[in-house]
Symmetry: C2
């Protein structure tokens, strides 16, 4: 079966994971985790977001986290999610060098909330893009629910194309396809990934899967079969689903790393160090996490125990 010999993982637990937690981690705790992720080998990390602090209090100290590390860590891409130009301003102020915008692929969802189509929303990102360019900040875009949404079910491919083209029009060609509602399914993922890769060869793609309905790893497998090589994951499977209270979160970093370890897919990340980070996190958050590997251990450890 077609699969890459190496993939790049972006750890999004500090953002998409922690933003769903009732416990708010301090700047020091976040910096410690961030340093641990870098030490484990991560080269791309989503550190937090610059959303309104009242709306997402868990992310209110994102600026402080960036300041605490002097804005950057050599050789590592640290990115933050932003809602608009104000996010770029905060990035500039705290030294963050990479930001990510987001739009819902659901026309109904977007029109209901913002009274414009997703493509119109993206066109409105022009101001943020110009400000980022002027400040020398890299900017990327995310499309939320491009596979299916609670409003439409399957999203027409032409709707996704329209959003991608709107992103290209404002100068963004690094795009994340984000299954925030956990409704993506393996063959749907394969089809959309194959389509966008062929139609937009000038783009760089990220895939972001939630394990809401247990399909995240299967979706990664079919995305890889379609040639994708960049994936988000979250330590301990932290995260959630805005539409399903109590649902499972993002695909777990340790679980993806274990898959890669077993299948000889290079990630450059030390799974043992990540397992330790997730174990510590369990203590900080005071509840068990969703990761299968935290629970069952690596296959290699079981073999070592039996053969010793």
């Amino acid at each position: 079966m077609n699969h890459p010999s190496s993939i790049t993982l972006c750890e999004v637990g500090l953002r998409d994971g922690l933003q769903n937690e009732p416990t708010i981690l301090t700047t020091d705790q976040k910096v410690e985790i961030l340093r641990g992720l870098v030490d484990a080998g991560f080269k791309v990390i989503e550190v937090g977001s610059f959303m309104h602090p009242v709306k997402v209090p868990q992310m209110a100290n994102t600026d402080d986290v960036f300041k605490a590390i002097g804005g950057e860590i050599p050789g590592v891409q640290l990115r933050a999610l932003i809602p608009n130009k104000r996010g770029v301003d905060r990035a500039v102020a705290c030294g963050c060098k990479k930001v990510k915008l987001n739009v819902s692929a659901s026309k109904m969802h977007n029109i209901k909330n913002l009274n414009r189509t997703p493509a119109e929303s993206v066109a409105g990102f022009k101001e943020a893009c110009d400000a980022a360019a002027a400040a020398g900040i890299e900017i990327s875009g995310s499309i939320s629910m491009p596979f299916a949404s609670p409003w439409e079910g399957r999203i027409p491919v032409s709707d996704v194309d329209e959003i991608i083209e709107a992103y290209l029009n404002v100068g963004i060609n690094e795009i994340s396809l984000s299954d925030a509602s956990g409704m993506a399914t393996p063959y749907g993922v394969y089809d959309l990934c194959s389509h966008v890769r062929e139609k937009y060869p000038q783009c760089t793609w990220w895939l972001h899967f939630h394990n809401t309905r247990g399909l995240a790893v299967a979706n990664i497998i079919t995305a890889m079969a379609a040639g994708m090589t960049q994936f988000d994951s979250s330590f301990g499977g932290l995260g959630g689903c805005p539409f399903v209270p109590g649902a499972a979160g993002n695909v777990s970093t340790e679980d993806v790393l274990h898959l890669c370890e077993e299948e000889n897919i290079e990630t450059g990340i030390d799974i043992v160090k990540i397992i330790e980070i997730s174990k510590n996190l369990k203590g900080m958050l005071g509840h068990s996490l969703e990761s299968y590997i935290l629970r069952a251990g690596r296959s290699k450890d079981l073999i070592a125990a039996k053969s010793s």
Copy 2:
């Protein structure tokens, strides 16, 4: 991506699921579940096992379950796991018409426990096969841990071939590849499935995955890509791992049905009825179950709720 338009599921929760539970269900409870499974559309069901009642007390009333339904249900294959010829005798006595033997693919495991190789163990099944043939009982075989085991790690393909050939020698050509230790990985599954299908076209195959390390659905996807169409699953994801106390169990029936529903893969089984069975089971067993769909609901239900 290559996938079948329909698959056959065997519900194994009454056997592999319940045998891991501290609560022992009564004959009446099991018969009620069994009738529910048939009503939901299952055409293949593993009802229980004829192991020693002291060793597996949860299965001690398997004979009574068969007797209660008069041994069979028209149009439905009801099978039981057996250890040896004694199992055939019990099947004959209670009217069960189909049995399944099992051997470990791990040479070390088998030699340690039984002082013979897996192929020698299978050769020893001759007596059971002859008794089944004489009684008009269908007999099939399972290979436990053919992908990897805690003793060897990856199992050499030649070892699996040897066991398959031993099964063919005693007259068994319906064979289950059973990842009981949850160590199978997607590309390993693809490779072994492709190999056995090509080398042994006279065989009928079943795939049995545990979700110990979160890979069961991904393994089903790659097994389907290799042409496999028959899978075991367990309601509510019940089951366990003999080597990892507290690990996740078999792949959940509702989760597989939901995948199939979303991808238009025909199963003939009503997912709504199965979700009800799993919900009731939760009450009977007194603990939460592993199924993602029990927790998050179907994508279709979310869409219906949002659009209403």
